[in-house]
């Protein structure tokens, strides 16, 4: 029996009008703009970018606003939007060793090359809730910076015209356009900044921009750590072909990069508690910006088309002895859009756990089972299927109700007939 249900349209329209009203909130307060969300709720935006698998900060900020801060809903909006766009092609693989880091730490080595750079971190804060309104504004305008060795640097006004005469200290790459040209100044005043006031970057600053060998590349060179897997067969793409198992590591990483943070976090936690491949060391955790290069089909050379923010995590794990080789540290790897360090650490742990077969380990928990992990990690898919439960199932439920009533009736007729008719075979034959 199929019953057409009509009459919801008016209610739906009214519900959406009400949604708009609720979304707007108290009209005595100003509406928050997408720019404000982007600038002040950046980590929410970054999570939407990572799980939406689309690097688009402004759009993701708009999605966070439209979804009233429901990040899973925002991810859904972003995913739906991207399906309307054409794909121009594939970038050159990112060179994450060249990441211009705003944060770079290692839990395995105190003195990693280039030093431990904390960046803007929640770590070491006391997690004391401050009344939001009472919080003091950080200094604006002049950014008076003090170098860690104590000497004060020339104040720099962020908005002011750019001083092109700044000294580029030795470590920086060669001038790209031949000898540095003297552009008298872009100062509105037309005055050339004197060499004293020109900002000279201390060495520590330039180091951040150089390629610094990651600690694991040193360990690899010394034969203590497994080297990166070289290129294998054709590269799969989850956005073009459905997930198929067994899945290779590149596809798994693509899937984990867009996976729900909460799910991956819990899986990583389960690994550490004994349901997986054990306790890793974070050899490097980096947040920074990388340039994306793309080879325009009409040109034969790659061109930089944008600069994006990423989080990368590399872990060192339990030894493995390959056939005919020496035991070496194994590795887990994570890379995701935006500033998402909790996600990245979890992703590296899960990436390593999923390699259990390749590394001859025992299956100890769900985090190692790729079909379980990959099939349930996407929050758009998961939310879609779970949410369908709230949609009308009126007819299905009616059928269950009828069945139950029938079974109860036979129960009343006597226990023997009841047992027979409640058995699955009996129910099947009745239907």
């Amino acid at each position: 029996m199929y019953v057409t249900v009509k009459g919801g349209q008016k209610a739906i329209d009214a519900a959406h009008r009400l949604l708009d009203k609720v979304r707007r909130g108290d009209r005595k307060l100003k509406k928050i703009s997408a720019e404000q969300i982007h600038s002040q709720l950046g980590l929410a935006v970054d999570r939407v970018q990572a799980e939406g698998a689309l690097y688009a900060p402004e759009l993701s900020a708009a999605a966070v606003g439209q979804a009233m801060g429901d990040l899973t809903e925002a991810v859904f909006l972003v995913r739906a939007y991207r399906t309307t766009l054409r794909r121009f092609g594939f970038s050159e693989p990112l060179e994450t060793e060249k990441l211009e880091c705003s944060r770079r730490i290692s839990a395995a080595f105190k003195d990693l090359p280039g030093g431990q750079i904390l960046g803007p971190t929640f770590d070491y804060t006391h997690r004391l809730l401050k009344p939001y309104a009472a919080e003091t504004e950080p200094d604006s305008g002049d950014v008076r910076l003090q170098h860690y060795d104590g000497h004060e640097l020339t104040p720099v006004n962020n908005d002011a015209a750019v001083d092109v005469n700044c000294q580029v200290s030795s470590g920086s790459p060669a001038e790209p356009f031949g000898a540095a040209k003297e552009f008298s100044s872009l100062d509105e005043s037309g005055e050339t900044a004197s060499s004293e006031s020109a900002m000279t970057l201390p060495e520590a600053g330039t180091q951040l921009k150089e390629t610094i060998n990651d600690i694991d590349s040193i360990l690899i060179a010394e034969g203590l750590m497994e080297s990166d897997q070289p290129e294998g067969g054709p590269l799969g793409d989850l956005t073009r072909a459905p997930a198929d198992f067994p899945m290779d590591r590149p596809m798994r990483l693509q899937s984990l990069a867009r996976a729900d943070e909460g799910f991956i976090l819990s899986l990583a936690y389960s690994c550490l508690r004994g349901y997986g491949s054990g306790h890793p060391f974070v050899t490097s955790l980096k947040i920074g910006k990388a340039e994306v290069s793309f080879t325009v089909p009409e040109l034969d050379f790659p061109v930089t088309i944008g600069r994006i923010e990423l989080t990368e995590c590399r872990t060192s794990n339990r030894f493995f002895t390959p056939k005919g080789g020496q035991p070496k540290f194994t590795r887990g790897y994570a890379l995701c859009f935006g500033r998402n360090e909790r996600k990245a650490i979890s992703m590296a742990v899960v990436d390593r756990a999923l390699r259990y077969k390749e590394l001859n380990e025992q299956l100890k928990g769900p985090a190692q089972d790729e079909e379980f992990v990959i099939s349930h990690s996407d929050n758009v898919e998961a939310a879609g299927f779970v949410s369908h439960l709230k949609l009308p199932h009126h007819v299905d439920f009616q059928a269950e109700l009828e069945l139950l009533k029938h079974i109860q009736k036979t129960f009343q007729a006597g226990p023997e007939t009841a047992e027979q008719s409640a058995s699955p075979e009996a129910v099947k034959s009745k239907n």
Binding site: L94, Y148, V168, D237, G306
Partner: protein
């Protein structure tokens, strides 16, 4: 890549990454943009960004990025422009600058503009690096003095 290609790729980088307002003011100083033909109107689309396993191994697809691209011609020279996000004006200007840089009578000026944009970019990243450098941990070791205890 030939030296010519390297040079063009570096200039295109500056036009693509550079600040659009700065590019506008530089082009205005030059007398604006000459009459160009649009080969491909500014179009927003996706580029699949790739990473590498472990950082240096086999490539994998990380996720897509939103870009706007545009292609123009000027006196037979084809210029390409790309901007992160939805930015038709920026992509058009970057494409125009790329086409202009290939015209003989404009190439010198466009080289200078690219250099201005490049310096501006450097300045910005330098500021970021400077702020970050102050969060570098300065370890020091405490002397415990056991050696002197006896």
């Amino acid at each position: 890549m030939t030296t010519e290609e390297i040079k063009r790729s570096q200039m295109m980088r500056a036009f693509n990454l550079g600040d659009t307002n700065l590019l506008i003011s530089c082009l205005d100083d030059l007398g604006g943009i000459p009459d160009l033909e649009l080969l491909r109107e500014p179009e927003t689309g996706l580029i699949m960004v790739r990473g590498r396993l472990g950082g240096t191994g086999a490539p994998f697809n990380l996720g897509e990025m939103l870009v706007t691209r545009c292609t123009v011609t000027l006196e037979g020279h084809i210029g390409h422009g790309f901007k992160l996000g939805d930015d038709p004006q920026g992509a058009f200007l970057a494409a125009a600058a790329d086409a202009m840089s290939q015209c003989e009578f404009l190439s010198q000026s466009l080289e200078e503009i690219a250099s201005i944009l490049e310096n501006d970019l450097k300045q910005r990243t330098k500021l970021e690096a400077l702020e970050t450098s102050q969060t570098k941990v300065d370890f020091f070791t405490l002397v415990r003095g056991e050696d002197n205890a006896s």
